[in-house]
Symmetry: C2
């Protein structure tokens, strides 16, 4: 029992160390020794948990996905534009999480690495969530009739990837005020003028 607990902790430490190393350099140059040494274990112990660096990267992506789901999985706000407000809240939450959480950050970066096998990564999952949320907003008549949900999806997904990538060099791109500026600009186009007052570009409280 104690042994199992220790193994789980080592696994967790290795995933976090791998994320820190991947966050600092590309996956392809990240060294296994740097990861095990940062986690305070031997290379042998690392290989006991993860056959190779690709398997370790998959574990980082899986853990990052769990954290992305924790950000997107929140109660629907109240109000007439609740899906649009949810989109704003989750974008704010994602930027804050990307700033604070190295595992989430590494997971997003890994999904953009060109020399890894192409599979559904975090950016694809994020896009899917934005797509679904906007579809519901459209269904419930939250969007202006002149606005296409697809156009909004394009802008939101592209800007979020931009914030994520630029934030790697300059955290100001992931600040609440940057995301608020983006929504302050976009919201008047998205929703009818009478509904604008009920929306908060800076996001509503966490549930």
């Amino acid at each position: 029992m104690v042994k199992q607990e220790r193994a789980a902790r080592t696994r967790e430490a290795l995933i976090r160390s791998a994320a820190e190393v991947f966050d600092q350099e590309a996956f392809s140059t990240a060294s296994i020794s740097a990861i095990s040494s940062l986690a305070g274990v031997s290379n042998g112990a690392l290989h006991f948990h993860f056959a190779n660096k690709a398997v370790l990267a998959e574990a980082v992506e899986e853990e990052a996905l769990a954290r992305l789901l924790a950000v997107t999985d929140r109660a629907l706000p109240s109000g007439a534009s609740r899906h649009v407000q949810l989109l704003v809240d989750v974008t704010q939450g994602l930027a804050a999480a990307l700033c604070a959480d190295v595992v989430l950050r590494a997971g997003f970066a890994l999904s953009g690495e060109l020399n890894r096998p192409r599979r559904a990564g975090l950016r694809d999952r994020w896009r899917l969530w934005v797509h679904e949320t906007l579809r519901r907003a459209e269904e419930e008549g939250e969007l202006r009739p002149t606005v296409s949900a697809g156009d909004v999806e394009t802008a939101v997904v592209a800007a979020a990837v931009g914030f994520e990538v630029l934030g790697g060099r300059d955290p100001a791109w992931l600040s609440a005020s940057t995301v608020t500026r983006f929504w302050r600009l976009l919201l008047p186009t998205l929703v009818p003028a009478v509904r604008l007052g009920g929306l908060r570009a800076e996001g509503t409280r966490l549930t």
Copy 2:
């Protein structure tokens, strides 16, 4: 004379080959031999032109910057919202150029590489150009008085980096229709309604 010309051609071929290799994998893992072999020259010939990979990467960035400037340096369109239209036209031109030109694409990617020394890269230059163009648009009264040029800059710079990064995996993100969708969404917020008819989200002809 002939010798100088041959040297210039070899240099050009090496820059293009380096861009192609950097475009496929990260700068840090790109091999000098892969670059020289793609250019059809020996490693010795490569080292005659470029002391090391970092110097070669700088040459790629410099050439990419020249190409970015060729995209931004175009005659101001006519019309009441000419700086806004210029911004649209240049964004369209940049997306098309990123799709077609491996040197430009590699230059942008290099400016985002975390494990290279931080210097003003293509993304910074792009941001500066967007900043200047919006400042002029604001000065000439092209923007709605309720819109902040800084908010627009944030959205345009972030979305453009998003298109660039996502376009590395899926060229559809750099298509004219993607960029048009972005502007179709943003333009009604940017300019007064009476001026909207004079603007083209798909861009105006190249000058």
